[in-house]
Every structure is written in structure tokens, then in C-alpha cells.
């Protein structure tokens, strides 16, 4: 394909220098970090490095801890993403006018500035056994003591973790779907579907759903990755075993036992491999090289 950019305008010193800065600040450290992690994990670096060995990898392969952690992280991220898409689509479709004017149109933007740290602290205050929800239950006469309130923090279903992630993600996808609904003229497409004999269910299943998915796939994957590797929220609200992958990696990295450090790096490498594959899948036919 013939390029639409003339050679005269393509090559500019300043722009190339700016990108070189990104490579130095952003990409090279990542490459160096990955190489170091790999070297550490096979005994070629670090205080324990005594020559090449696959012992750390083979010992980890036999332990369920890291695999369970990866699986738990993936399940929590998937469950949260499913609920996010459901809630986001419901709010975006059900509140189309309200999302453009009035109180809703302002308040829905608030959580976009909410750090995960604060979301975690808020959920801790709201859902712990002496939290706000427990007090409401007490006022309604459902419980008498905090201990009677069902565990939602450090619980086996990770309800608190999911709730905190939802606070961050639902408003984003509500706004995103609302924008897609407008820009893709979904209202008109749905009316056409009805005119052609389709039902409202067909609009959802055959028009809105596929378009939301196509336009939102890269966003969904990036959010999934953010939740999969989330740290602050599971640190404060998550259960101790199995821990989510970032928490486990950090714990193994910070342990006094130096033998656990290679395991931290292996967990980091496994995480990187999974996430890289996901990103490549998400962007495989995303038109990154499109002429905008």
C-alpha cells in the first residue's frame, strides 16, 4: 500500500528523539527487567545465582500456589468484567437521556478519578462486618452483632474485591457504551431491525451486543488485564489463600527467605506471558495501522 505520508514530512528529528525518549524510559527498562527476571529465575542472577538451573521452574511447576493464584485472578477479573458489561450496558441503554443531562450526567464521571486505593478503603468501610451495610442490617433488625453479618471482606468468594473493581469499571463502561450507542447510530439500526420484523431481543442480541463487543473489545481486554493484575484492592480486601497474582508476587518478592525470590520472578514472567498473549489477541485485527 502506498504511504500517504511524504518522505519530506515523515522524518523529523524532534519526533524521533521524543520516541527515543519513550524507548529509553518505557521500553528498555521493561526489556531489562524481563531479562533480569528470567536470569534470576534460572539461577544466572541474584544472590542465589550459582549457574544455570531449572530447579526453580520445576519446583514451582509442582506447587499449586502460583497456578491457583493465576486462576483465581483470572476468575475474579472475568466475573467482574461480566458484571461490569451487564451493568454498564443496562445503565447505558436505560439512562440514555439522563446520562446527557442532569445530576446523573455529572456524577457518573466521578469514579473515573477514583484511585484503586480509595475504592478499596471505601469498600472496606462499607462492607466489613462493622461497616455501613452491616449497620443498615442492624437497624433493620437482621443482625445483632457485627459477627452475624455475612463476610464480604477477605471472603472466599472475593465479594469485596469484585465490588471495589465494579466501582471503578461500571461508570467507565456505562459512558463508553453510551458513547458507542450514539456514534454508531444504534437507535436507528434497532428501529430498522423492528421494521424488518425483528424483535427487541434481536436488537440486543444481533445489533447492540455485537457492536458493543466489536467496539469495546480492546477496552474490555485492557480492563481485564488491569483487574487481573490489580494489587491495592486484593491486598486490602482479598483472601489470604489463594492470593491474587500481584499480591502473591509482591509477597514472595519481599519475603526474608531469599529462596522465594526466584518464584516471584517466575510468577511475574508467567503473568507477563499470559497478558502479552491476551493483548496480542485483543489487538490482532484492531486496525492499529489505520489512517485516521
Amino acid at each position: 500500500m502506498k504511504s500517504w505520508v511524504s518522505e519530506r514530512l515523515r522524518h523529523r528529528g524532534w519526533e524521533a528523539s521524543a520516541f527515543a525518549i519513550y524507548l529509553v524510559v518505557g521500553v528498555l527498562p521493561i526489556a531489562a527487567g524481563l531479562i533480569y527476571a528470567l536470569a534470576y529465575s534460572v539461577g544466572l542472577a541474584g544472590l542465589l545465582g550459582k549457574g544455570f538451573t531449572l530447579a526453580h521452574w520445576t519446583s514451582l511447576a509442582g506447587q499449586a500456589e502460583v497456578w491457583l493464584s493465576l486462576l483465581t485472578s483470572a476468575l475474579i477479573a472475568a466475573a467482574t468484567m461480566f458484571l461490569t458489561l451487564l451493568a454498564g450496558a443496562c445503565f447505558a441503554l436505560g439512562l440514555r437521556t439522563r446520562l446527557r443531562q442532569g445530576v446523573v450526567a455529572y456524577v457518573v464521571y466521578f469514579p473515573l478519578a477514583l484511585p484503586a486505593t480509595v475504592a478499596a478503603f471505601f469498600v472496606f468501610q462499607a462492607l466489613s462486618d462493622a461497616g455501613l451495610l452491616a449497620r443498615v442490617f442492624h437497624a433493620l433488625g437482621f443482625i445483632r452483632r457485627p459477627g452475624e453479618f455475612p463476610a464480604m471482606i477477605h471472603d472466599s468468594w472475593s465479594l469485596g474485591v469484585i465490588a471495589a473493581f465494579l466501582i471503578l469499571s461500571v461508570p467507565y463502561f456505562t459512558l463508553f457504551f453510551s458513547q458507542v450507542y450514539r456514534t454508531e447510530h444504534l437507535e436507528e439500526l434497532c428501529r430498522l431491525t423492528l421494521t424488518l420484523g425483528g424483535k427487541r431481543r434481536d436488537c440486543l442480541r444481533r445489533v447492540i451486543g455485537p457492536i458493543f463487543w466489536r467496539r469495546g473489545r480492546s477496552h474490555i481486554v485492557l480492563w481485564f488485564i488491569a483487574m487481573f493484575g490489580g494489587y491495592e484492592i486484593p491486598l486490602l480486601l482479598g483472601r489470604q489463600t489463594p492470593q491474587m497474582i500481584s499480591v502473591l508476587t509482591m509477597r514472595k518478592y519481599q519475603m526474608f527467605d531469599l529462596a522465594s525470590k526466584p518464584q516471584a520472578f517466575i510468577a511475574a514472567l508467567l503473568y507477563f506471558a499470559i497478558v502479552s498473549l491476551l493483548m496480542l489477541w485483543a489487538f490482532r485485527d484492531e486496525r492499529l495501522d489505520r489512517d485516521v
Binding site: S6, I30, F91, G94, L95, F110, V118, I167, E232, F272
Partner: protein
């Protein structure tokens, strides 16, 4: 179609408002609570003690607030122009797709996991535990965001306008100051704000690269939570969330005028 009307619409709207606004109500309220324990639904007394301590400099929150602001301003002010120029290189280069994938590279890592892999490098360079190190580490994500954000700006239309300047005898400086900067002013502002937020809310990288010596507001929230001091944690949280939230209220277009990567 599908729009909830009447009572259903009002209930749905109210639930979304409650869902989104709850942290922004609870945090300031908790920071003002004199005593608020189970089973009280509302604080027994309101006391501005935590805020007075903050304003009077009796706790480190003020100092940390200033440091957080400084870090975020430096990150945003440096990453926005560099990302703007780097995006032009990416957009007009033959290897556009390859470079753009590289721009997404930091997003293939959780900040904490990235931090564990990077710490040795920062230690070697004597950057761990320093303000410069934290700024550089946070810039990885902010700069990547800025590049991804600006690439669509450098399109055929902008290129045609730039070429027109040269055809009419204009210089590169004139093309930049008279055409490109005015065209991109709003986008530059959006990117500045987003980069500021990326840095302002960063926890994992700051924790590791800062090595406990560079304290920022997100770290302070956790410190107070670990000390079982919910009132000060709520104060630090309020300072963390209220300024960007107020900014967003008055500048909604700065947040969601176009698609952006999550996280």
C-alpha cells in the same frame, strides 16, 4: 428504545448516582467524624480535628500532598509534550503498527509486578528511593498513554493542513505554532489531565521504586489504614479524590471525548 422511563428510570438513575457518589460522600464524612462506630448509621459527632491537624501542619499529610502534586505535575508536564511529538513519529512512520504495539508495552504489566522486575535496575542507577526515580517510573505509563492518545490526532487532515502551510511559504515553526498547537490545544489539556491522574493515583510502582522514602497520597491512605486510623485515611482519601472529581465536574469533556485505554 430500551430507555427506562418513569419510576423505573428514576430508580435506575438513583442507583447509578448512589453507586458513583458514595465514595465521594463517605470519605469526607468519615474524615469529619469525631466518633463513628458500630451500630451508628451516622457519626455521633462531627469534628474537624483531622482537617485542622492537616491545615495546621500537625500531620504529614500536607507535606505529602505537596510532594504528590509536584510529582504528578512533573509527570504530566513532561509526558504530554513528549507523547505529542512521539505520537507524530509513530503515526507517520512506516512501522506504525509495530511502534504502537510497543507503546502498549507497559500495559502488559501490573505496576507492582513491573516494579519487582525493575527495582534492580533502579537500584543500580541509584534511582530507587528518590523523587527522580519515582517520576521516571510513573512516566513509563503516562508516556505510553500519551503516545496512544495522540496517534489518532496525526491524521490525513492534520497532515494536509501542515503541508498547506509549507505550500504557502510557512516555516516549520509557523506550522507548529499557528496550526498544530491551536488544533491540538484541547487534546493537550485532556492528555495533561489524564497523565496527571495516572501519576496521582499510582500506588504499586511508587511503593517499590520509592522504597518507602518517597511518600505519596495513595501510599499514605494505606499507611493510615494499616495503623487502623480510618479518620486520617479518610482525610488522605478525600484529598486524593476531591480535586480531580471537582475538575471533572467542570470539564467533563476532558475525560471522555474520545476512546482511551483503561487502567
Amino acid at each position: 428504545m430500551f430507555e427506562a422511563r418513569g419510576v423505573r428510570g428514576a430508580l435506575l438513575g438513583a442507583s447509578l448516582v448512589a453507586f458513583c457518589a458514595a465514595p465521594f460522600v463517605l470519605m469526607p464524612l468519615l474524615s469529619l467524624a469525631g466518633d463513628w462506630s458500630f451500630p451508628d448509621l451516622a457519626p455521633g459527632t462531627l469534628s474537624p480535628r483531622a482537617w485542622l491537624d492537616f491545615l495546621g501542619g500537625n500531620n504529614p499529610v500536607g507535606r505529602v500532598l505537596l510532594r504528590s502534586s509536584l510529582i504528578s505535575l512533573v509527570v504530566a508536564a513532561s509526558c504530554t509534550p513528549i507523547g505529542f511529538l512521539a505520537a507524530r513519529f509513530v503515526a507517520y512512520d512506516r512501522g506504525r503498527k509495530r511502534w504502537l504495539l510497543l507503546a502498549y508495552a507497559p500495559y502488559a504489566f501490573s505496576p507492582v509486578i513491573l516494579g519487582t522486575c525493575l527495582l534492580f535496575l533502579y537500584l543500580r542507577l541509584n534511582l530507587a528511593g528518590t523523587l527522580t526515580g519515582v517520576i521516571l517510573a510513573q512516566s513509563m505509563f503516562a508516556l505510553a498513554f500519551a503516545i496512544v492518545f495522540f496517534v489518532p490526532f496525526w491524521n490525513r487532515r492534520v497532515l494536509a493542513m501542515e503541508e498547506l502551510v509549507y505550500t504557502l511559504g510557512g516555516t516549520r515553526l509557523q506550522a507548529f505554532t499557528r496550526v498544530l498547537l491551536p488544533l491540538s490545544r484541547e487534546l493537550l489539556l485532556i492528555c495533561f489531565f489524564q497523565c496527571f491522574l495516572i501519576s496521582w493515583t499510582q500506588y504499586g510502582l511508587t511503593l517499590l521504586i520509592g522504597a518507602g522514602k518517597v511518600q505519596t497520597l495513595p501510599l499514605m491512605v494505606f499507611e493510615y489504614v494499616n495503623e487502623a486510623n480510618p479518620y486520617y485515611a479518610a482525610l488522605a482519601s478525600s484529598l486524593l479524590i476531591l480535586p480531580p472529581a471537582l475538575f471533572i465536574v467542570f470539564n467533563r469533556r476532558l475525560v471522555f471525548t474520545r476512546e482511551r485505554p483503561a487502567g
